[in-house]
């Protein structure tokens, strides 16, 4: 089992400034899954509870000279502490800057010299070789090696299980609605957290997203209407605009044109932390049979409205119980 590559400018910036802060807030420990074409960070794919989060990058976006080989179709997976990985990235960057080496923030085109590889070492005071993801940073005058401890690489069976879970996680909801203002949604959810722990999320085929928290003393909610719809859509019935948000949602569910699920406020709030990765927009949808709430983040190519297909990020929130069942 071998893995060795050099980090690209874009890759190191993308991870350091955007994805590491976001993914660390979703969960500190995650799986890193490397294949011939992709590098992925996966949260909670093998243990059922918690927010599942899949961040996938084309290998060419993050790496140069990408070399991977394993007996398991060149797939390697292990878990690590994202805070330690982020620290290694930051220290590598700072060494390059301090030593007057290439500044990855400014000098686009100059060779970056952060090489990463998988290796085993015997740490001081131990007899057992331990696996590490090693960062070797070469400045003009010195080279610094930063080893990030990782778990033992997953066995063939575990990798198969991880791949199966990943395939499952790619299933798309039949209707997705686009939330244009991510900051507004995040701000709202942060405040709704004070009201209750359970949140009903309803999505209609007319493009309405309705969030509601209800306790014995208060019902509080927010409805976003006329959002862009992807997938199955329908026209809102006449007179629908004169109803309250709750009545509108109930009617849409009765007509089979909406779905509603209950999720944990804590889970939704965690998934919203993905905004630190600065996605350009987000789509919300409910999986068939109300299996989960799916949030798909989209990234545009810089300076365009074209989707950047080399990055994908999505979350699946476990459903506590189907609402209005």
């Amino acid at each position: 089992m071998k893995f060795k590559a050099s980090l690209t400018h874009d890759g190191v910036n993308l991870l350091d400034r955007r994805f590491m802060p976001a993914l660390d807030k979703v969960g500190r420990i995650c799986h890193v899954y490397l294949t011939r074409d992709h590098a992925m960070f996966l949260h909670n794919l093998l243990n059922g509870d918690g927010v599942q989060c899949v961040a996938q990058f084309d290998k060419d976006l993050l790496f140069l000279d990408y070399r991977i080989s394993s007996k398991n179709e060149d797939r390697i997976a292990f878990s690590l502490d994202l805070a330690l990985l982020h620290r290694a990235l930051r220290s590598a960057l700072s060494i390059l800057q301090r030593q007057g080496g290439c500044d990855p923030r400014d000098s686009v085109g100059s060779p970056l010299q952060i090489q990463i590889k998988l290796l085993k070492k015997i740490p001081a005071g131990s007899q057992q070789p331990t696996p590490f993801l090693s960062f070797e940073t070469k400045g003009h005058k010195s080279a610094v090696i930063h080893d990030v401890p990782i778990s033992r690489p997953l066995s063939r069976d575990d990798v198969m299980e991880l791949q199966a879970a990943l395939d499952m996680a790619q299933q798309l909801p039949q209707t997705l609605v686009q939330v244009p203002d991510l900051a507004q949604l995040q701000n709202l959810v942060e405040r709704l957290k004070n009201v209750g722990d359970l949140l009903s999320v309803s999505i209609t085929q007319y493009g309405d997203l309705h969030l509601q928290v209800s306790t014995g003393l208060v019902t509080m909610g927010s409805e976003f209407r006329r959002l862009r719809v992807l997938g199955d859509r329908a026209d809102a019935p006449q007179g629908n605009q004169n109803l309250t948000a709750a009545s509108r949602t109930r009617l849409a569910i009765e007509r089979g044109e909406a779905q509603s699920v209950q999720v944990s406020m804590k889970h939704l709030s965690k998934s919203l932390q993905c905004h630190s990765a600065k996605p350009d927009c987000a789509y919300y949808g409910i999986a068939p049979q109300g299996a989960c709430l799916t949030v798909i983040y989209q990234f545009f190519q810089p300076g365009t409205r074209q989707m950047d297909k080399s990055i994908s990020l999505h979350c699946r929130l476990p459903v506590l119980e189907p609402d209005y069942a």
């Binding site: 507004q184 004070n194 208060v218 509080m220």
Partner: protein, 300 residues
């Protein structure tokens, strides 16, 4: 008194619109001295009054007069009263305000199930709403009969920030705080005796920046429980301190202390360049009055 649920064609007792949610939050938070606190709300043609009390010794009232609202449609007979959780009301109102956006919200009472209903009305595509359950109002356990002690009421006005600072400082001796007013030399003295002694004196003529007005024709001294005095300033909104406002303290019959604060309920960032006097007048009219009544300690 509590009104009955509205019939389908009957207008609710109150429908009003507000464009300064943050001001309302500031005003209500000022009387929220603990997390879970019940409040009584009374609606009238003049506005809304919210009353909070504790242990029959401390009472606070927030007066939100109708001029603070963009629209105020009152259709009830009598003065409907209901109880609700103050904390919940503040948390719900907070949900409406977001940085850089001052929403217009509609307040309606009663809803179909006697709820207090709040909803944002400034966008057709995004609506935030809250339905807060109300309960039948408790009777107020004491009616603060605040008659002036004599013909000349004893009172002084002090910068709210200075009052808060003095009360915060008195936490150290804590327990009981004595407030002494004397005409010669004109001054107010706060004295704490407990774990140690601390005395804070505000001379009237020496520093008019602190003590703005002073009315006293004889020496008086009353004692108050520290925790009640503290409640009168502990949650005062930052905007009050920033606006450099004053608080008026008046001593009524038997030493009953009334503390009045002014909280701005103006919409932030409104400028009317062509009608500056008028808008200034409008803005100054948009003040919520907060009153605290503190009973003195009985002499042993």
């Amino acid at each position: 008194m509590s009104s009955s649920p509205p019939e389908a064609d009957e207008a609710p007792d109150l429908v009003c619109r507000l464009d300064s949610v943050q001001g309302m939050v500031d005003a209500l938070s000022s009387v929220r001295w603990k997390r879970n606190q019940d409040a009584l709300v009374e609606i009238s043609e003049h506005g809304i009054v919210l009353i909070v009390e504790e242990a029959g010794c401390l009472q606070a009232k927030v007066y939100l007069k109708r001029e603070l609202f963009l629209t105020y449609e009152y259709s009830a007979e009598g003065r409907p009263r209901f109880g609700l959780s103050l904390g919940l009301l503040v948390d719900c109102l907070n949900t409406f305000s977001s940085p850089g956006h001052a929403p217009v919200i509609e307040i309606l009472y009663p809803g179909p199930d006697m709820q207090l209903i709040l909803k944002s009305v400034d966008s057709v595509d995004v609506c935030i709403y809250a339905e807060i359950r109300t309960r039948i109002a408790d009777t107020i356990s004491w009616d603060c009969d605040f008659g002036p002690s004599r013909n000349n009421p004893l009172s002084f006005t002090i910068k709210t920030a200075s009052l808060k600072e003095a009360i915060d400082d008195l936490e150290w001796p804590s327990s009981t705080i004595q407030i002494l007013l004397q005409p010669e030399p004109s001054s107010v003295v706060f004295k704490g005796e407990g774990h140690g002694d601390l005395q804070i004196e505000f001379p009237y003529y020496a520093n008019s920046d602190l003590l703005i007005t002073f009315q006293c024709d004889r020496q008086v001294s009353y004692r108050y429980k520290y925790k009640f005095l503290r409640a009168t300033t502990s949650n005062i909104a930052g905007s009050v301190l920033k606006d450099n406002r004053g608080s008026k303290l008046t001593f009524g019959r038997g030493g009953m202390l009334k503390i009045q604060h002014l909280v701005s309920v103006a919409r932030p960032g409104i400028h009317h360049p062509h009608h500056s006097d008028f808008s200034g007048l409008q803005q100054s009219a948009r003040i919520a009055y907060i009153e605290f009544y503190v009973k003195p300690e009985e002499d042993e």
